[in-house]
């Protein structure tokens, strides 16, 4: 239900970086989203298609890379995937754990067209 403000934030960040790079058009966005973040990919794309209209990001494709949840046991250093009810360390049973991955919520990069070959030196891969 909170995909609209999330999508607005993604648009704001991507437009800012595209502008700094002198890009003419944003074609693709690469998002890294941990499974602990409650965001529905299809809803973000749905809002994106509405709010990106009329900007240089209109029609851009959103790519979601999902990161599974893993905990790290602070007692025995075991790193393990977490699924459903089994939150405790499978090796030693400890509940002294921390989240090792799965809470990412980042815009990693964007693909842009600069339209001007002279601009490319700074940003080309």
């Amino acid at each position: 239900m909170h995909e609209l403000p999330v999508t607005q934030s993604i648009l704001e960040i991507s437009l800012r970086h595209a502008q700094q790079a002198g890009a003419k058009r944003i074609t693709d966005l690469y998002l890294l989203i941990g499974q602990l973040s409650y965001v529905v990919d299809d809803s973000v794309q749905f809002y994106w298609d509405m709010i990106a209209k009329g900007t240089i990001a209109e029609g851009a494709t959103l790519h979601f890379q999902r990161v599974p949840v893993e905990f790290l046991c602070l007692d025995c250093d075991r790193r393990y995937p977490v699924d459903g009810e089994n939150l405790a360390c499978p090796r030693c049973g400890s509940t002294r754990v921390k989240v090792a991955s799965g809470d990412e919520f980042r815009l990693e990069s964007i693909d842009v067209e600069t339209g001007d070959a002279a601009d490319l030196n700074l940003v080309e891969k």
Binding site: I13, L31, G84, A88, D103, E108, S109, T114
Partner: protein, 220 residues
């Protein structure tokens, strides 16, 4: 010519920056602030009423209420003795965010208060993602909701500094395995301050009030 621009920016940055501004404003006034979150019906407003009943003689308390519609909760807080009670109607949004809280803070002279209670929209998902700038996040679980909630809503359970377990007077009547519930909480948020209470009987509320009082005057 296509090219790739690396960004690596947290999507919630804009909200988090505003939350920091809110915190600065709250800190400057020396107020201790909490963000109360829970599912609908867990007892957020009842906890606020019970808290006010025990503290209005000692502290100057402001309540900010987030709801999708109506001012029923703000009215209850005012009736229970809050010196100021501000309603934010989110107009359909399922959570409060830092912008909404900023709007409410602008209506308050914070220097006139000791404690600010923000009652978030009833929801176990979305409020966890939006920092407001308050000092402590407090989650209210309630016995009839079931003992599996930490497992189903890990994002909410791992992000709070205190956990109230409300409606413990109902434990004899529902199948709520406290051990199972607490094991989930422990794995997600080891050592979180936990307060089993009943707003109906008053049991356990003294410990919750002690924790609050221990924080007022030493925020952060």
């Amino acid at each position: 010519m296509p090219s790739n621009i690396p960004i690596v920016e947290n999507i919630m940055n804009a909200n988090d920056r505003l939350a920091q501004e809110n915190r600065g404003r709250i800190d400057a006034a020396g107020v201790f602030s909490i963000n109360l979150m829970a599912s609908p019906g867990a007892g957020k407003t009842s906890i606020i009423e019970q808290t006010l009943a025990r503290l209005v003689d000692k502290l100057r308390i402001a309540v900010v209420d987030g709801d999708i519609a109506t001012s029923l909760d703000a009215d209850r807080a005012a009736a229970a003795g809050a010196r100021a009670s501000i309603q934010i109607n989110t107009g359909g949004e399922c959570h409060l965010d830092a912008v909404m809280l900023r709007g409410a803070l602008e209506q308050l002279d914070l220097t006139k208060f000791d404690l600010l209670i923000v009652e978030n929209v009833g929801n176990l998902v979305c409020p966890a993602e939006f920092r407001l700038g308050t000092h402590k996040s407090v989650l209210i679980a309630s016995v009839p909701e079931g003992d599996d909630k930490p497992y189903k809503y890990p994002g909410m359970y791992r992000g709070v500094e205190a956990l109230i377990i409300n409606k413990i007077d109902l434990l004899p009547y529902v199948n709520f395995k406290m051990d199972y519930f607490r094991r989930g909480v422990e794995a997600l948020n080891a050592g979180v301050h936990t307060f089993p209470v009943s707003c109906r009987t008053g049991e356990g509320l003294a410990q919750w009030i002690d924790w609050l009082m221990g924080n007022v005057g030493h925020p952060g």
